[in-house]
C-alpha cells in the first residue's frame, strides 16, 4: 500500500444544494396517495368480483354448491319423466334439489310443500327444502289434475348420503 496521504477531497463536498426535501416529501405523499387509490380500487374490484361470482338464484346455488351429490333416480308418472340430477347442501340445514322433467303439458313438482321453480328453462326444476328431521320427504308429480307421489326414502333410488349432506 502507498504511504502517500490521500488527496483531500472534502472541499468538493461543499456544493450549492437546492432545497429538495420539500419536493421529496410532496412526491412521497403523492406516491402514497396514488398507491392508496390503487389499493382501494383493487379491493373494490375484488369485492365486485366476489359479489358477481356469488350465486344468487336457487339454480346457481344448487349448481355451484361445493357439497353436493349427483344422483340419478328416475320416476315416471302420467306420461312425464322426472329425473333427480343433483342434491346440494345450501347451508343452515337446507337442501337444494335439481330435477330434470320431460313431459308434455304442464308438469308441476311439489316437495315438502314447496313447488319447484323453473329457473333454468322448461326442463329444469329446482326446489329448496329443510333437511327432514325424521322420515323422508315426498315428491309429488302433478300432470294436469293427476297427482302421483313418491317417497324419497329407502328403495327410491335416492342414496342415503343425500340426507347427510
Amino acid at each position: 500500500m502507498s504511504d502517500q496521504p490521500p488527496l483531500d477531497l472534502r472541499a468538493l463536498a461543499d456544493v450549492d444544494a437546492p432545497e429538495m426535501i420539500h419536493e421529496a416529501l410532496r412526491r412521497f405523499r403523492r406516491k402514497i396517495l396514488v398507491r392508496s387509490v390503487w389499493v382501494v380500487l383493487a379491493a373494490v374490484a375484488v369485492v365486485v368480483l366476489l359479489w358477481a361470482r356469488t350465486p344468487t338464484t336457487l339454480a346457481e346455488r344448487v349448481d355451484q354448491a361445493s357439497r353436493a351429490i349427483e344422483a340419478h333416480p328416475v320416476w315416471h308418472a302420467q306420461g312425464a319423466t322426472v329425473a333427480l340430477d343433483r342434491v346440494a347442501s345450501l347451508g343452515d340445514g337446507r337442501l337444494g334439489f335439481h330435477f330434470v322433467v320431460i313431459g308434455k303439458g304442464l308438469v308441476t313438482l311439489r316437495m315438502s310443500g314447496q313447488v319447484a321453480s323453473e329457473d333454468e328453462g322448461w326442463a329444469n326444476r329446482y326446489v329448496e327444502i329443510d333437511r327432514p328431521a325424521h322420515g323422508y320427504p315426498t315428491l309429488a308429480i302433478i300432470v294436469g289434475e293427476q297427482r302421483t307421489s313418491f317417497s324419497l326414502g329407502l328403495g327410491s333410488g335416492v342414496t342415503q348420503a343425500v340426507w347427510r349432506l
Binding site: P6, L9, R10, L12, D14, V15, A17, E23, A24, F28
Partner: protein, 147 residues
C-alpha cells in the same frame, strides 16, 4: 433529519453522475424512498449509512436505466465553491476522469468522510476488498491529478 444530510447526498450524486439535474433527481428519489423506509429504520446503523445505502440502490437502478449513457460529459455547474478555484477545478477534473466505481469510493471516504468499513457495508463487500479498491482508486486519482 433529512435536511441535515441533504447536501452530502446531493454532493455524492453530483460527483458520481456529474450533472446537477440528475443529481437533484436522484437525491429526491432517495429521500422519497427514505420517507417510505423510515418506519422500518431500527436505528442499528447511523442515519447517514442507512441513507447512503438507499441512495446507492437508487443510483444502481439509474445506472441500469442508462443514466451514464445519457450524460458522458461532466456538467460545468458541478464545481464546488472553493477558496482556490484552480486547484479545486483540477481536483474535480481528475475525479471526474475516473471510472464511476473509483469515484464512488473516493467520494464516500475522502470527500464525505465515511469510514471504509461503513462504505464496505453499504457497497456490500468485505472491508479488506474495499481497502484494496480504495487504495487503487486513490492511486488513480493521484495519477490523474498529476501531483
Amino acid at each position: 433529519m433529512f435536511r441535515a444530510h441533504q447536501r452530502a447526498v446531493f454532493a455524492y450524486f453530483l460527483r458520481i453522475v456529474g450533472n446537477r439535474q440528475d443529481a437533484e433527481e436522484l437525491t429526491q428519489e432517495t429521500f422519497v424512498r427514505a420517507c417510505g423506509a423510515a418506519v422500518r429504520f431500527r436505528g442499528d446503523a447511523k442515519v447517514s449509512t442507512w441513507l447512503f445505502g438507499i441512495g446507492r440502490r437508487v443510483l444502481l437502478e439509474a445506472v441500469r436505466a442508462g443514466l451514464f449513457e445519457r450524460h458522458s460529459e461532466v456538467d460545468e455547474q458541478t464545481h464546488a465553491r472553493a477558496d482556490d478555484p484552480d486547484e479545486r477545478m483540477d481536483l474535480e477534473r481528475a475525479l471526474a476522469s475516473l471510472g464511476a466505481g473509483d469515484r464512488e469510493v473516493l467520494v464516500m471516504v475522502d470527500m464525505l468522510g465515511f469510514e471504509p468499513i461503513e462504505v464496505a457495508g453499504i457497497v456490500g463487500i468485505t472491508p479488506e476488498t474495499f481497502r484494496v479498491r480504495l487504495h487503487r482508486a486513490r492511486a488513480r486519482l493521484r495519477e490523474a491529478y498529476g501531483r
